[in-house]
Symmetry: C2
Subunit: 635 residues, 2 copies
């Protein structure tokens, strides 16, 4: 335990991760009942000043994954964990029971080990489980026609109060003037309603087209949804390895990751105290947590894959389900007969889970227990509402291996397993590649939709080339944006350290921002309602030299401000009508304003009203085009 | 001149920019004549060691833009400039004459100004120009059926000696075993022959589908080609602004940019001594140099757009053509009647050249002199072989303005101008946007191909969202990869400082690497012959834990090595069969090898021959699939 620099009684939240973002305040959208309060971030803007007149710019509301951390009103003490906001909702359904304590053999052993006292999160409550014969998944409720508070919460969250502004101003022209217009998009079959209702959420979950990962033992989580008819989501991974890093670092990475926009976090730790690390992370996480239980199971057999058993794996599922893990990556699609299909590959099997199971299958000459015991796994999942993230154990690890027979054979198996899980009303998403050249990405997406009957796709990248180690956030950001556009529901980030080492804090941030870009570019291209509002607001600020607004409306205000300050550090430069890139004489935006001013000064149209001016200029242009000659001669 | 930290007699090449890249040596492909020697970079690899046996991995040949700088044999003295390798070819055509000195009024004035002595590059020769009545463009030669040495050079360069390896090994299976297979790609109509012949180059140039930018006054340049039936190219911008930076920095940025892969460099300087800076850059640049002459013309009228005249602009064209600029961005498509079409835009006119001309047009109530004098401009271009880069003065500066009427109206005008330039046998490429959401990129590309009759497209990005200032290399890298795939011939880089400030050295490198990724991802997706070879080699090295090879085969070996060393700094880690990301127990690649070893040790197929083993495993899999049961039971 010498590597652990973390003691429970001195644990503190990372101060850099809790300050509100610049010009931002936490607001809550009130729901249909008092205990549904959906957090959003409101970014304020300064007014536009033209010719001495000033016009307000409305604040921009953005989706906020940071939970209570960025709310100065919240009293954060990571030793106590976050408020369990979903507790009353779970209580209200009256289909769960409190257990006396962990029911897994391993969970009990860790709870009783006195040597772990200094590491342990001091949890006051015991785990919950479905009452005998009950099914507590959101899919189960949805299929019975029940709209849960979680679904209500999500409807408000996905809507981003986009109707408010539209109704505040009268008529389409006024709305467009304030918010800018939006391109119509190409959604490739995704259905993106103007308004997200709780009933729409329910229907999507019932159909399996979306999942709400929220274990009943993670009542601290703010409900979110993953499905292609909603905003594209991103996942950030964290996790120590046997080689380096500590519990404290991992908790910090979680709060850091959600600050910049991670919608879910996967804890991929593989070290000594992963049970305790996980507890700290879940208790302090407002976003769903995913894991790969196989990693811990392998730890339990000291890394010897052949020694894995169903019993050990099963105990691990229960252990983690009772801690509150929201989704499990399970590589049940790696079947014995698939393994030899990887023999001709350039990079064999590159999924850790996939390679472990392949080794087990070959060693025992037996079908994978993840496959043969799949219904038993479903029975555990539905007792806690853990969602499946069916792992792509045979994903391609190189451009060469993309879309090959092994990958697609596994995908077909994942489709079969999806149907089984759905028979149990267990929520499912499907993991995807990997490394795929651009022209094969759509085939991958379409094949997934077809095989898995529109269960949400959750992909790593894909990386669109192998030749840039050190820049795989970019090689994969390209593929992520594209597959998000084509219909992928959640994008698993890749950091600059991919293939080379464990990401540090800066790498986590770079990975998250890159993937927020990819997800947003995808929303824009799909034509997600109101997604262009942020682009429009930022570009308007840019054109009007509202530098602070430009920084604050961006995904990373700190870096934008820092870059600007490197060359023009004085505060006066923040109001300057140029930047160091072009300097004052060559600023096209400045000249562009002069062009408009010029027309105005010449008494063109005798008005200072912007709208009338623009309309008049357009009419003049038309006349000019028809008649030839000078533009403004008649004025 | 106090800001200039550069004196001609002490000028030195930046030492960081001249060392060969790791494990790389400069090789020259010999052409059909002794003075055609095409530089390439050869990356050596270590052998593969399996079960004690060792097998060679062939060195990888890659396209090399760094010129003599990375050749230790070359004697670099930037005070003397590079060797003028094309001089004999130009002499041989006997269609040019040496002038007595600069013929532009401004060029003469600068040459005679004693105060510039300490800044001036000491050029021993005078400029050349076409003899009266002659046309010295590569397009002109091509249309007469002449294959120039430049075309021969390019054919060898684009081929990358890809036939050599294919013939060295016998039969397709052997080639595929060594080099890996390649996906077939989707080229969207691009024609990508297996072998690039000089005749193919000639035909493409004659048809206007590709350009060879090489001014007869830039004989130091290594010929390269821009067209969608060739490798996708990238451009890096440099240039001081009135606000900051010096001559020395700009020369350093050029050598730094080509080291990492810039195929051309645009000098966008706008300061005091841009004439002298440009001379230093051209004399030391092995890649084509582009400029926007309007910027300097505007300097000459002290930044007052209205005071620009055709005479000043014409003198600037001649001044720069006689220095050796290879392509001119000229915003001749911004017509008077287009200007009002921008009035409803979110971000007006964001091209510097476009906004200057718009202002001029409105101030004078006259059609742009760039448009009315276009044939006179062509006459200058063909006397030096300067190529047009027809500027997109009305490109969208925000997602909101993408693919609007103003942009497409200008594009149609650019199509008309292309036809005029082609009547003069002047080479043309077309500049493109800008900011475009993903779903509108293909429309942009298709419209350009249609309007401009397949003249090469040269785009900035496009940026696929506006919301990430500080990360616009990424927002635009996504769009660049996609438009490159769809048919764009050259991608103009965007650095992380875009919209915020002037890029420094690190930003230049980040921008270049990002765009090399985009260009290569595009080549892969198009199915460019042999483009997958580098991916295959790198992935094979990765799978075989040849760490050094993995670093060296990548676009940026230094960064990859540095990232790896951050967590596993010891040299022994370079041969370790795992990395810090997963650690030794969880390395999927390690386990994947164990899976193969396992099968081998069980005497499966009684062979250690990899090929037979793989074949056997596949057959077993097939049998297993048909019969069910255990995989290896019959062995």
């Amino acid at each position: 335990m010498s590597s652990v620099s973390f003691l429970a009684d001195t644990a503190r939240v990372d101060s850099a991760a809790i300050a509100p973002l610049p010009a931002s305040r936490k607001v809550y959208i009130e729901g249909p009942r008092a205990d549904i309060r959906v957090p959003m971030r409101e970014i304020s803007q300064s007014p536009t000043t033209t010719s001495g007149e000033s016009e307000e710019n409305p604040p921009l509301l953005v989706y906020d994954t940071s939970g209570p951390y960025t709310d100065p009103e919240a009293n954060i003490d990571i030793r106590r964990g976050l408020f369990d906001l979903r507790r009353a909702w779970i209580d209200g359904r009256d289909d769960t029971e409190w257990l006396d304590g962990p029911t897994s053999e391993y969970g009990q052993r860790r709870a009783e080990d006195p040597r772990l006292a200094t590491l342990r999160f001091d949890l006051k409550r015991t785990p919950r489980r479905a009452k005998a014969g009950r099914n507590v998944t959101q899919m189960h409720y949805a299929r019975q026609g029940i709209v849960t508070p979680e679904m209500e919460f999500i409807a408000l969250r996905e809507n981003q109060r986009r109707q408010t502004l539209s109704t505040k101003y009268s008529g389409t022209a006024e709305v467009e003037r304030i918010l800018g217009h939006q391109h119509s998009g190409e959604s490739f079959g995704a259905r993106l309603p103007e308004e997200i209702t709780a009933e729409f959420v329910r229907r999507e979950v019932a159909a399996g087209r979306a999942i709400i990962p929220n274990n009943i033992n993670h009542p601290e989580s703010e409900p979110m949804i993953i499905g292609r008819n909603f905003l594209v989501k991103i996942n950030g991974n964290l996790g120590n390895s046997a080689v380096t890093s500590s519990i404290e670092e991992e908790v910090d990475k979680m709060t850091w990751g959600i600050r910049w926009g991670a919608d879910t976090i996967m804890d991929l730790s593989t070290g000594e105290n992963i049970h305790e690390t996980r507890e700290w992370i879940i208790r302090n996480s407002p976003v769903p947590i995913g894991t790969v239980p196989l990693y811990q199971a392998l730890e339990k057999v000291k890394g010897v894959a052949e020694n894995l058993t169903w019993e050990i794996f099963r105990d691990t599922l229960i252990e983690q389900a009772e801690q509150g893990v929201d989704y499990f990556t399970i590589h049940a699609g790696v079947r014995l007969h698939h393994v030899p299909m990887t023999a001709n590959r350039t990079t064999g099997i590159v999924s850790r889970g996939g390679s472990i199971m392949a080794k087990w299958c070959l060693a025992h000459h037996e079908e994978s227990f993840l496959y043969t015991r799949f219904e038993e796994i479903c029975a555990i999942m539905k007792a806690y509402d853990v969602a499946f993230s069916l792992g792509d154990g045979l994903r391609p690890g190189s451009i060469s291996d993309a879309n090959d027979a092994a990958q697609f054979a596994e995908l077909e198996t994942l489709g079969e397993l999806t149907q089984i899980a759905w028979r149990h009303d267990v929520q499912v998403m499907i993991e995807g590649p990997g490394h795929v050249p651009m022209h094969l990405i759509k085939e991958n997406m379409d094949k997934q939709l077809e095989c898995c009957d529109e269960a949400p796709f959750y992909t790593l990248g894909p990386l669109t080339t192998d030749i840039a180690p050190g820049y795989d956030h970019i090689t994969s950001g390209i593929g992520a944006a594209m597959i998000g556009w084509y219909g992928c529901a959640m994008l698993c980030y890749v950091t600059p350290k991919e293939h080379l080492g464990l990401p540090d804090r800066d790498d986590v941030k770079t990975g998250i921002i890159t993937y927020k870009i990819a997800a947003h570019a995808a929303d824009l291209a799909k034509g997600h309602p109101a997604s262009q509002r942020r682009d429009n607001a930022l570009s308007k600020a840019r054109f009007e030299f509202r530098w602070e607004d430009q920084f604050n409306l961006g995904l990373d205000p700190d870096t934008a401000r820092e870059y600007h300050d490197e060359t023009l550090p004085k505060d006066s430069a923040k109001v300057a009508h140029f930047c160091s890139m072009c300097g004052p004489k060559f600023c096209s935006m400045k000249i562009s304003h002069e062009v408009r001013d010029h027309a105005r000064q010449r008494g063109l149209l005798g008005t200072t009203d912007e709208e009338t001016l623009k309309r008049g200029m357009s009419e003049q242009a038309e006349r000019f085009r028809e008649e030839g000659g000078e533009l403004y001669r008649e004025l």
